[in-house]
């Protein structure tokens, strides 16, 4: 692939990473079972999933770009779905509360006034503990999390792939270097949506999905800037300037 396409890969990957954070249900208050979502900050959780994806993608380094992207997506989605299972197990048997979506129960989600889970059709409202914003991860947020994991994994693998093939001509230790740079670009793009999500999101049906254009724009600007730096370094290094 030519360097410009690889640079576009890094930009597209960075933007996908930013968008994936909107899909992964997470909330720090979830640690007290007081809010729907996986019990940690959305950015940190997405980064954890993304690193699993990059690690999975690295095993498929010699199998072509499509296999790498698929491998990254599978690794990230597996991490998210297992974390949702673990979180729900603790909520069910450790705390004694069923998974329920707080926003859907209060009729403030993107589903409008419906208070039912869109996948299972189960009523959410009576199961919410009063004074909380839901707890655990019901089916609709689990599906949203898997979609987020897939997007994040593909995004991380795209960045990894782009950086890897850009620096192949100039370095011996390409896998290690591109892994580190990909993780850095992933982290930057993961943290940016934190400004629009403000510590909490329920994923696909949360009203904060409407703020995706802001995330898209900020991630596009930052990823373009980062991709240009990597592109310039690799171009000048291959010319013998660095």
């Amino acid at each position: 692939m030519d360097p410009v396409s690889l640079m576009l890969f890094i930009i597209a990957g960075g933007v996908l990473v930013g968008i994936c954070v909107h899909f992964i249900p997470a909330s720090a208050v979830g640690a007290m079972s007081a809010s729907t979502g996986i019990a940690t900050g959305p950015s940190m959780l997405s980064f954890g999933a993304g690193l699993t994806g990059i690690l999975s993608a690295s095993f498929a380094l010699d199998s072509g770009p499509v296999a790498m992207l698929a491998s990254g997506a599978a690794g990230s989605a597996l991490m998210i779905v297992l974390t949702i299972l673990g979180g729900n197990l603790v909520n069910a048997f450790g705390t004694g509360v069923p998974p329920v979506s707080g926003q859907t129960a209060s009729g403030q989600s993107l589903l409008g006034s419906s208070t039912k889970d869109v996948i299972t059709g189960w009523e959410q409202k009576p199961f919410v503990t009063p004074g909380t914003d839901g707890h655990g991860m019901p089916a609709q947020t689990a599906i949203s999390g898997i979609i987020g994991g897939i997007l994040g994994g593909v995004g991380g693998a795209m960045v990894f792939l782009g950086v890897h093939f850009l620096i192949v001509p100039i370095s011996q230790e390409t896998a290690a270097f591109s892994g580190m740079v990909a993780a850095g670009i992933f982290l930057i793009n993961c943290v940016l949506p934190a400004y629009t999500l403000v510590g909490k999101t329920e994923g696909l049906f949360d009203r904060k999905m409407l703020t995706i254009p802001k995330t898209f724009l900020s991630c596009l600007i930052v990823s373009t800037f980062l991709a240009l730096i990597i592109y310039s370094v690799s171009t000048y290094a291959s010319m013998g300037a660095v």
């Binding site: 640690a31 007290m32 007081a34 940190m44 690690l55 690295s58 974390t83 069923p98 599906i143």
Partner: protein, 294 residues
Amino acid sequence: MFQILLLGSALAGLLAFLAGIFENEDSDAGSASNPNSQVQLAPQIEHLHRYYNKAIAGEPPQNALWAALAATVAYILYTRIGLDPVPGVILGAVVGALITAILQGMYGSLAHISRIASMKNFKQMLYWDCLLSPLPLSMAYTFLTALCLTLLSFVIHGLLGSPFPVPLIAMFLGFTLGAIASSTGDVHYGAERLYQHYKFGSGIAISKQGDIDVKGEYGYRNSVDTPYFTLRFGGPVTGLTFGLLIFIDALSRISGSVWTSVILEFLIIALILIVIIFLEKYTRNRYGPFEEGK
């Protein structure tokens, strides 16, 4: 080749399971993750406590740096000492984990003192025994976590054939484990252990936040008792989650074909999703809708 991959997957799964348990107990003993907000809030509503609170960094980056430090030291020792691979890796990992534990002890002491000192306006006292009794426990858990993650990184690099160097794998795994522990096992600490004086299943309304249980089995509660409680459920669930992740990911690649691995992983994801939905149905039937006053 097949046997090496099988051995690597089994070993990686076991090490990941143990690392998950130890990491969760370390964070619970030190109130290191999101529940630290409750420990920090308690003195502000006149609940003076004796918890050990070392939360001055997010759990994932903190754990990633401990793992990366231990793995870097281990890798340097392994390549410089010139022992056979197995004793060299084990010796290097033990020394790396020891250095990490000592550093974590220094970090934990200063973090706790500064955290408690910041609550001086609310008459929170700094009890030395509350620092000195859970500190060695927390350091021991960090030692075990760092040791398991370092060995796991060597297994993934050596037996499973990852192109990444050992310290980078350790950093990646440390971060992922921190994210998993902070979102699974810590719920058992934050929503149950800290609120044990409320009825099981009554939920933690926002208005109850900060009203943590400061009394323990023998007088005032000390953080050294926390892992005794969370080891029964929160720790094993964290270990199971991280262990399954590493084991399934490694085992799916055993055929050698990337596409077989991807298809297998997506099939397992679908299976886990079905389990999640059945679990939701089970808990809804078991606990029923919320009833006021019960």
